[in-house]
């Protein structure tokens, strides 16, 4: 499947990522999942609030890093391809997503 490219516009747009990139992104999500279970354990063990909040903030950072890696790949591939092919609505779509991720 690596290298295979789904039709640029299908009814639901798909994105075939190369194996290395997918693995990195999946590893990040697995670590984040582990961190969330860590928060549950802290709660079960009656941890002090500031400690839980500090760890929650670390989960947030990990999630933001995941988004940055994904966004960089997206800009370099899908967005660049679309712009070169003259598909301008990709920029509007990108701004809509950035709006959710920006401060």
């Amino acid at each position: 499947m690596p290298g295979m490219h789904a039709g640029a516009h299908a009814s639901v747009r798909k994105k075939v990522r190369d194996e290395e990139e997918r693995r990195e992104l999946m590893n990040r999500l697995k670590r984040i999942e582990g961190q969330v279970r860590g928060l549950q354990r802290m709660l079960e063990e009656n941890a002090y609030c500031p400690e839980i909040l500090t760890q929650a903030s670390a989960v947030n950072s990990a999630l933001n890093s995941f988004c940055r890696v994904l966004l960089t790949a997206h800009l370099r591939t899908c967005v660049s391809e679309d712009i070169r092919a003259g598909r301008e609505d990709t920029v509007d779509e990108l701004m809509a997503v950035l709006q959710k991720l920006m401060k």
Copy 2:
């Protein structure tokens, strides 16, 4: 009052929450864990980047809501008790945590 040491203080500070509060917080964390696994599924299914990013931003919001509920409880209980008992370093500790959570 400074220097007085409440019973709840052990060498590692714990926080016994009431059952209803703990359940609400745990339910939130369980939902967040499910959302993170949802992100993993989207990745496996080659979902388009903006869709993954939009869902990641929703996980972020859920995590922030969790922090807000926890922080409110913390302010109302631990911080209020400490201030009434004259333990001022609780404010410094609170600011250190807020710094991580603030924009």
Copy 3:
């Protein structure tokens, strides 16, 4: 005026700050005002977008630092006094403000 304390609850609540604290906060706001005028100059001089955005992000950081300094003082004075006096709605008020400042 330093040390004079306005009635804890007036029809509009005031906060008399000591001179040194007020000066620090005012200096920060003056610097931020200068930075905003700097952004205007960059725009007039047709600066490249990433450079303007980088500087705008620096203004944002300065604003956040101002908020942190103000919030720390607020927690140490007004909030602590209110909690010691048994005025609990101060915590709700604080959470409403924190909600705007938090990520």
Copy 4:
């Protein structure tokens, strides 16, 4: 196309915006400058901390809106042109800027 150098590139990159866009951006900055002076007045008049913090958060929002408008224009013009011309380092530059603006 890589290596081709557009006329708009000087040793310091400039961006000539059209008059309407520049006016909108300048108006936003003028309003933000006014809001910062408003914060100074509140401080002089001993306004209550939560009120100053609420207004500071509004200044933050105005600054973020300014960034969004500028970023959208940047994506539609400079970034799109560069990508079409094969200048790939524009994406790295964009990610560096986004990193500062993202949560």
